[in-house]
Amino acid sequence: MLAVLAWLAASGIAVLALVRVFSGHPPAPPGARTLTRRELETVRAAGLAIYPRGGAIEPSGEDAGVALHADRFVRAQAPQTQLLVRLLFFAIEHATLVFPAPGPRGRRRFSSLTAEQQIAYLDAWRTSASFARRLLFTSLRAILTMGYFADEKVLGALGLSAQTIEAPRIEADLLWPAIGTAATGTGALGSNSDGTAARS
């Protein structure tokens, strides 16, 4: 009898864990190719908590497309690094079990918390006495911040848009082609350097 109860309890916990991790996430935004819709939702929610709409700089993290940027950034990493970044997103999403957000139902996964709870939860990570927790928060914020500033609207709002630069052609330009584009003016060396089909 005890064994049956234990089995039922274990199955119940497993089902709850599966529901918590896998169900009820909105579809991925078009263009996402690497992160799952669950991960994208974590990043989107964190992006909105860290960079809400309005205030001193108008665009929100969501307006700046931080989730899609994170998707591109993770894709550009080696498999081992990709895994670490994804573990970071997983930790932020589910650590509410260990560090619940204040207020009712604070143990829901991060992306299901109310906006106020999300902010309070992340602020607790940011100011935590635990270096490990602060480090995870800083890593998350670094990824989101780099995505936020990759958006021209954000740079434009701060007057930090890049200069237009007409560069002179130099000797080295004759030695190799641009990566992934057709070689021009490279003489005997003309071919693509990343192996993609050359355009003529």
């Binding site: 960079y51 990759a150 890049a162 000797e171 190799w176």
Partner: protein
């Protein structure tokens, strides 16, 4: 002899090459050696794992730029004391992404090297002709005022007000436009990174340059080495394909202070001294943002245009700094609207940093079982932490002396904002912990250090391995300890000397 640069798409089969000297790594160390040897009429093959970047390959998005130009996508960190550290993976190595700061090591530092590491020919007077050769070749000169921009000149003003020495930074640039983009690659082609300076000169002198080619081991030949072997790697993905071997009379490892010990360890060439991969040292740095009453237009100005050597003998150097906003904004305090408020101060801000010598803080580089990335163990010594705290304080002083209305130190357990020097005095009394700081360390040394005693180092003063007489090292691993200032120029001077020595012997 006509040289060439080979790129990824040109490799369609396994191949062998034969030459006088093979140089592994095209950063400041390797490119100088390759050029000097080729110019001396030697048949040189220069091998570089990263791709060559054309002007249009640079992306301004800091994250994506790091993913393209840096090892481990720019996310490499040490263990022990956790600190990010960046090493480039590109033709030109670190010079492609660095700020072009070129400073000769002070005489007291080089004298200290000679005394402690039993070196006889490495005083400032010994190295001066080599420094000069590099400075002439690259057109190294102090940054002119017209490309300094306010965020650099305010540093000068602050130093002057306090009576601290300061000077425009000498850089390897020609026609800098003050775009502040050195970190993501110079679109103006002003920065004389080795890919567009020493490498083309080496090619002109006949060197063959293999890019996207990862050396994986050294080939033994009796008690010597006979060359190197490796595989072609696809840019950015690291996917391996064709195999190659380069047979040479002399092998020069200049793969960087972290990759060279890994190559030696993977090749079973750690020798009897036990020093390969040991003594890992950094220049950890702290950066502070100060906010001024008026716009500083930080988007304009040389990336790092001004410095103060006032405290070099105390173990730290002060500099101005700029980076893609998304990279340094990572340090700013706050969340939500408060964070946005802090970010909105950037147009009135300047960022200055202190890099510390940290000779007491050591670690080690070990090879992983798979792949060529290193495991980095390193710990910041508590006494060195105090030096960083002192650097933080001096920066604070300079900010307020220059007229800053507040500073944001970005240090845990300190107030997030300080509005006067009086308020900032808490820095003096604070009991800092290592984990309070957001450190970064991109200057790396000593893992194959030069030492007069074969039992205590890996190479001699000519860069030659004590135990293998046709194997040389010419990257920052040979610096026996910190050069007290930014390392590139000192490395290039040493590489110049090493190359002349090899050319004479070959």
């Amino acid at each position: 002899m006509s040289g060439e640069v080979r790129v990824f798409a040109q490799y369609d089969h396994d191949f062998d090459e034969i030459c006088d000297a093979v140089v592994v790594g095209s950063g400041p160390g390797g490119a100088v050696v390759a050029h000097e040897l080729a110019a001396a009429g030697k048949d040189v093959v220069l091998i570089e794992e990263g791709p060559p970047f054309a002007r249009e390959d640079f992306v301004l998005d800091g994250a994506m730029s790091m993913a393209r130009t840096m090892r481990e996508g720019g996310l490499r960190t040490t263990r022990g004391t956790i600190m990010p550290t960046m090493q480039a993976n590109a033709l030109g190595g670190g010079s492609l992404v660095n700020s072009a700061i070129c400073v000769r090591a002070p005489a007291f530092t080089l004298d200290g090297w000679c005394e402690e590491f039993q070196l006889r020919r490495s005083t400032r007077a010994d190295l001066d002709p080599h420094y000069l050769a590099i400075e002439d070749f690259l057109g190294i000169a102090p940054t002119p005022d017209d490309v300094q921009g306010a965020r650099n000149l305010l540093f000068r003003d602050g130093c002057r007000a306090l009576g601290y020495s300061s000077e425009p930074i000498a850089r390897n640039v020609r026609g800098c436009r003050g775009s502040g983009e050195c970190f993501t690659g110079c679109r103006s082609r002003a920065k004389q990174s080795t890919d567009i300076s020493y490498v083309p000169a080496a090619v002109r002198a006949g060197a063959r340059v293999l890019t996207s080619a990862q050396v994986q081991r050294l080939l033994p030949r009796g008690s010597r080495v006979g060359g190197v072997a490796g595989q072609i790697v696809r840019p950015f993905t690291g996917e391996t394909s064709h195999r190659f071997r380069v047979h040479a009379k002399v092998v020069v490892l200049a793969a960087g202070c972290m990759a060279t010990p890994v190559l030696l360890q993977k090749s079973g060439l750690t020798g009897g001294s036990g020093q390969v991969g040991e003594n890992l040292q950094f220049h950890p740095g702290v950066a502070v943002m100060g906010v001024f009453p008026d716009a500083t237009h930080p988007e304009f100005g040389a990336t790092q245009g001004y410095q103060s050597l006032e405290f070099v003998e105390d173990g730290f150097k002060l500099e101005t700094l700029w980076a893609p906003p998304g990279v340094f904004a990572v340090r700013l305090p706050g969340l939500g609207y408060e964070l946005k408020k802090n970010l909105s101060l950037i147009p009135r801000a300047a960022i200055w940093d202190a890099i510390a010598t940290c000779n007491r803080s050591k670690g080690r580089v070990r090879a992983r079982r798979r792949g060529m990335d290193p495991v980095l163990d390193w710990r910041l010594d508590p006494k060195d932490l105090q030096v960083l705290a002192e650097g933080l304080w001096r920066l604070t002083e300079i900010f307020f002396a220059a007229g800053a209305e507040r500073i944001l130190p970005g240090v845990h357990r300190l107030p997030e904002e300080m509005r006067s020097l009086d308020e900032a005095r808490v820095i003096r009394a604070h009991d800092f912990r290592v984990t309070d700081f957001t450190l970064a360390g991109n200057h790396v040394f000593s893992t194959t250090r030069m030492h007069g005693d074969a039992g205590a180092g890996v190479v001699d003063e000519d860069g030659r391995c004590h135990e293998i007489d046709n194997l040389y090292v010419a990257d920052t691993g040979i610096l026996p300890r910190s050069p007290s200032v930014n390392p590139m120029l000192t490395l290039m001077a040493l590489a110049h000397r090493i190359a002349l020595g090899i050319a004479a012997r070959l």
